[in-house]
């Protein structure tokens, strides 16, 4: 019996060693990024401690103003909020209709949205750019937001529809007896009911929009409108080896996402695993 428990403890220790070493591999580049952002151009290549003894927090101020990351940050914030609001509004209306209302072509339209999730369209940025030029939306905030709303639409409709399907019929009937019309049921019954699914939609799309790069590359040409990810690449192009400032910029770009993730990680994991039910 003793032998057995010793064996079990050793396997446990080995398992934990593996898990801890992978965790360190996950976190090390981020710690290195943060630590380097606190060093100066002179010490960044010689001082290899992870957190330097004399942290230079003024790098962040410099990056925020001289590097232009303040502007990029606010742009990213505007785009994220606008796009997420747009997606939530448009997709919840559509999902509610697909799940609860009767109209001809309901299934056909839903399958159309599903098919959009399944048919890969790599390089869709080429025709999107042509479209943007034609609609005079190149280098505008509106064009970028509309493109991104479309990117998150199918996934959100699918997720919300499966959730609305679970809503008990009695809830809807009770609201109807109380004098709610369709819009009322949507606003007062369906939306509060689907709050967990809405949280997944919000968090997931916020991550996607904040991290989006290629559409920002295609659409924006003026620096005043660029989001963070694009701004980082612009900065890299201009200040090739100013590593402390670049790392400060990267930290500015990564920190909101990490905080959002840590706060909402339950919903993010739910969104990631929601694909388990999908195929």
């Amino acid at each position: 019996m003793l032998n057995f428990s010793v064996k079990k403890t050793t396997t446990n220790i080995l398992v934990h060693l593996l898990l801890i070493s992978v965790s360190i591999t996950c976190l090390f580049p981020l710690l290195w990024m943060f630590g380097s952002s606190l060093k100066t151009q002179g010490t960044v290549f010689s001082d290899l401690s992870i957190i330097p003894q004399h942290p230079h927090f003024e790098n962040y101020i410099k990056a925020w103003t001289d590097g232009g990351f303040g502007r990029y940050f606010f742009n990213s914030l505007i785009y994220t909020i606008a796009v997420v609001l747009g997606i939530v509004l448009v997709s919840s209306l559509a999902a509610f209709a697909f799940s609860r209302l009767e109209f001809p072509g309901r299934n056909a339209f839903f399958i159309m949205f599903l098919a959009a999730m399944m048919i890969p369209l790599p390089g869709s940025f080429v025709p999107l750019y042509v479209l943007m030029v034609k609609l005079h939306l190149v280098n505008t905030r509106l064009g970028y937001c509309l493109c991104l709303i479309n990117v998150g639409l199918s996934f959100s409709i699918f997720l919300l529809k499966t959730y609305f399907d679970k809503m008990p019929k009695e809830l809807e009937d009770a609201a109807r007896i109380d004098g709610c019309n369709r819009l009322g049921i949507y606003r007062h019954v369906a939306l509060p009911f689907a709050r967990p699914a809405l949280a997944v939609v919000v968090v997931f799309n916020a991550l996607n929009v904040w991290n989006e790069y290629v559409l920002a590359l295609i659409i924006f040409s003026s620096k005043d409108l660029m989001p963070l990810q694009r701004g980082l690449m612009m900065f890299r192009g201009e200040f090739l080896t100013n590593y402390p400032l670049l790392m400060a910029g990267l930290t500015i770009a990564a920190l909101p996402i990490i905080i959002l993730y840590l706060l909402m990680q339950k919903y993010i994991v739910k969104g990631a695993t929601s694909q388990v039910v999908f195929p």
Binding site: P104, L121, G123, S124, V214, Y261, A272, Q275
Partner: protein, 342 residues
């Protein structure tokens, strides 16, 4: 079964659209389909629908109109536009486009760099499919044993996937850097100076280095999905197997693996589709260099569009690539169905 229908339908619809497009282009010489034309078609169909259906149903229909409008302008229109542009030679600016029929596709087939980029994407996908998913599975099995700690590790392992590819690419590019990078510094310190090299500009190592970063960023996805799958397996099965005297390997082979096959297939499909199409990491780390050794199809499409202003060629590249991806996911679905029946 619904998938099969969608695939068949989409292929039929696609080929019909291509045919209609070609005939239309050939005889009318109308160079531009207006995005507004698509919206107009949608509006006309809505009006037709009003004529047929009752007012009540029409009000219900209004709920999906915003989604439908955005979808038709930003998804259906580009979809058709790709099919159209692929048959033209166009620089993206001039008002005139030259109809070249299938010449662009022939050029794609003969383009050596294009097929090299396809091979590179395949290589990255292979690494992701084997090493990354094996690691994800081992970690998921380890966490499944002790769920309390499992939640803690899950939080950490999912941090790389939520970061943007630009951030990950730029940090790792520095770690790999020849003169200032940490990796070379460590190699010097532990006494292997001859191993140090400029990792991302050496043709021998560049692709593998990118693939490693890709796996580092991606394994958390597989881990989370696999762990969720493992947790759906009833614990009694494990206990019963233990009572019968099965060892760990036998438990895995006879209980875990058979029950997990659908999840394995899902992870495999997601990995393949995701890895084949990932390109932002490459843009930030190597930009396709050295000498096309890390090019992937999407960076080629981007180069054709921005670099050499060949919009038609870029579109035919994306059609070829999209068709290949569709075929791959179709084959994977088929295989998984066969496996389930067997």
């Amino acid at each position: 079964m619904i998938f099969k229908n969608i695939y068949v339908k989409s292929i039929i619809v696609t080929s019909c659209i291509i045919l209609a497009e070609l005939i239309y282009q050939k005889f009318h010489n109308l160079r531009f389909i207006s995005p507004l034309l698509i919206l107009l078609a949608v509006l006309i169909s809505i009006i037709l629908v009003i004529k047929i259906i009752s007012a009540r149903q029409f009000k219900s229909f209004l709920f999906i109109v915003p989604a439908l409008a955005i979808f038709s302008i930003f998804y259906i229109y580009p979809f058709i536009k790709v099919l159209q542009l692929a048959h033209y030679s166009w620089d993206g600016i001039l008002p005139t486009m030259k109809f070249v029929a299938f010449y662009n596709f022939l050029e794609v087939l003969k383009d050596k760099v294009w097929w090299q980029s396809m091979f590179n994407a395949g290589y990255i996908t292979f690494i992701a499919l084997t090493f990354q998913n094996a690691l994800a599975l081992i970690l998921a099995l380890a966490c499944d044993r002790q769920m309390k700690a499992g939640n803690f590790y899950r939080v950490i392992f999912f941090i790389p996937p939520v970061l943007s590819e630009v951030v990950v690419g730029l940090v790792w590019q520095w770690l790999y850097n020849a003169d200032y990078g940490l990796l070379n510094h460590w190699l010097y310190t532990i006494g292997f100076p001859n191993l140090a090299r400029s990792w991302l500009s050496d043709p021998k190592t560049a692709l593998t280095c990118v693939a490693i970063v890709h796996s580092w960023k991606g394994f958390g996805w597989g881990f989370v999905i696999l762990l969720a799958g493992l947790q759906t397996i009833p614990r009694q099965l494990y206990e019963a197997a233990r009572v019968d005297g099965a060892n760990t390997w036998q438990v895995f082979k006879n209980i875990t693996a058979p029950l997990m096959i659908p999840v394995f297939v899902l992870v495999a499909i997601l990995t393949v589709l995701g890895s084949m199409q990932s390109f932002v990491l490459i843009l930030t780390m190597t930009d396709g260099g050295p000498a096309f050794h890390t090019e992937v199809p999407v960076t080629r499409i981007l180069t054709s569009m921005i670099g050499s202003s060949r919009f038609g060629y870029a579109c035919s590249q994306s059609i070829v690539f999209g068709a290949i991806l569709l075929a791959i996911s179709f084959i994977q679905k088929r295989l998984s169905q066969n496996m389930r029946q067997a």
